[in-house]
Symmetry: C2
Subunit: 237 residues, 2 copies
Amino acid sequence: MTNEAEDKLDTLRTDPDEQMIVDRIYSAVMEQKLAPRTKLSELALCETFGVGRMRVRRALLLLSSQGIVDLQSNRGAYVACPSADEAREVFVARLMIETGIVRELARGIGEIGIQALRAHVEKEEVARKSDDRTEIIRLSGAFHVELAKRHENPVLTRVVRELVTRTSLIVALFGTSQASMCPDDEHASIIDAIVCGDPHSAEEAIRDHLLHVQNSLDLEQTQKAEPDLVKILTGRI
Amino acid sequence: MTNEAEDKLDTLRTDPDEQMIVDRIYSAVMEQKLAPRTKLSELALCETFGVGRMRVRRALLLLSSQGIVDLQSNRGAYVACPSADEAREVFVARLMIETGIVRELARGIGEIGIQALRAHVEKEEVARKSDDRTEIIRLSGAFHVELAKRHENPVLTRVVRELVTRTSLIVALFGTSQASMCPDDEHASIIDAIVCGDPHSAEEAIRDHLLHVQNSLDLEQTQKAEPDLVKILTGRI
DNA sequence: AATTCCTGCATTGTTAACAATTCTTGTCAA
DNA sequence: TTGACAAGAATTGTTAACAATGCAGGAATT
């Protein structure tokens, strides 16, 4: 299992079509190609993926159970739009969980594990040099999933992936134009601390990193350009 | 919001019927009324809850996404039957997450929070004295959810609840006749450590407790024999 | 011009019939 | 007795039609 392996959601279902739909929407959200509040109409999804309405509805239900999609009764499905409170909750949860993850990694991670992480950061640097924004965003989030994967614990990995994906939505909503993605040197620092074998400094590194990301957001102010707000503005002026 | 408030799954949906179905099955699993491998036939669920097949199928899909139900193509839905490996994964994940939870609680928990926890343990003792097995099992798991709730973080609470519920399945499968549920004095010890305000000893307490529970299981041996198909569903859920 | 109400359209929610698969049962042969 | 096989029953999966809800546009009123 190399780090080249694609990120597949480790669900317990089997259906390939449905899995594909969920993965595609999931990835699109993670890469910030699908903005919050985007309407996901059933018809459009049916045509896009070439499947029946049932499959689409099942996929949307699954996505809603993970907080990626907001299902509104009789109104349709929308890409979720986390509140500032929820955003803080996600960060607090990530802080608690990910500190535990890196702490245990610092207590003993294999050589291959370290190589996988370094390779990932390498890819991040390449993407950064190429100015491939989509890839940068994807890899920035995926790094944290990679950390979790080092424990070879699908249950744990699934929890982290869910939180990381929701973080993508949060960054899309509250991110300032500047540092809206993880700087890779901080990722490298985390790896270094793990390699050192010092649990405490590893905890410190990931905590600093997550707080740094959170602080680069605008959680106090209003959210980004609400459609109603635009409507109101154009109407009044 | 007192501790008397019932545990409702904080999903993002709205449907009352469907929520009821999910909650009922969820609770039945948590109280070990529904054994692993129990078949959940659509027809039986429709009649039990008096709803159409669509609602049942949606509920089953949601439950499967949380690892509570195993959906087998063309074969039906069964109460999940975690493998020994998965069981270990759940415990490792819980260890990482819950140590973080109690550590932060030890750094500062309000007086009301402590009272809520003590009241919970009190209820556990009452149930124990009454030999109310169902209630004992339910409260034993719920205590850990209560710990998470002290952070007033629905995202975090949801993660913990999911893991705790899966633990119920694991205990049902691998539990030995003896100590298959949390001894409440250990719960009390955890509270004491939190009250002391010492993060390290709080971590120690929850770690010991979780390891103790895990060690009371038979993860090395074969799983428990298939339970006689007690029709809890049609009779009394 | 702004507001309210009404009508038609578009989208979602639900149901029921149909198709496909698996499970059960009974029969036959080794 | 055991095993294989086949027909029927039961269960799940899918589709399509229908119902219900929300939304947009326009007419009428103030």
